[in-house]
Symmetry: C2
Subunit: 98 residues, 2 copies
């Protein structure tokens, strides 16, 4: 079971994500990012790799895809806000997109 | 190059899709459907099969996924509205979801 990020956790873990292009949606306590790939194959290929990690970690993104663009929202419904699982998945998404 | 659906085409081709749960967005001249699967593996597995057809036919959906739910919007940007490609992809999506 995941726990909501503490104030300290937010300071240390969210700043590096913001530096990588993530934005914080305070209303939903979620983090969001738009990825733009070269084409649909790249975009969906990335989604597929992410999907396997999401299922493995039992933590799934909200995401939408239009051709080469993927918009992602991460939050943890169980804790009604951000948890370390969101940070873990966000880092993996960035790593897989690099 | 695809062409915008004629009035006759709309009558004959869209009615069977509406009967299968598609709705018509007149403002965008698009068709929309929400698929609900058993779980994420089923939802993303279906998306993956659709994605290969979409790329093969060079006609890509706008879609969003939250766990076991996938919302789809189909329209043809080149003709600023619905074309036979949307009908073709919608039928394939239904077939792959059956």
């Amino acid at each position: 079971m995941s726990e909501k990020l503490s104030d300290t956790g937010r300071k240390t873990m969210l700043a590096p994500l913001v530096a990588k292009g993530w934005t914080i949606d305070d209303d939903r306590d979620a983090i969001c990012k738009t990825y733009v790939f070269d084409d649909f194959i790249d975009a969906f290929g990335w989604m597929t790799r992410v999907a396997i990690y999401a299922e493995k970690w039992n933590h799934h993104p909200e995401w939408s895809n239009v051709y080469k663009t993927v918009e992602v929202v991460l939050t943890t419904h169980d804790v009604d806000g951000l948890s370390s699982l969101d940070v873990k998945l966000a880092r993996k998404m960035d790593q897989l997109a690099d």
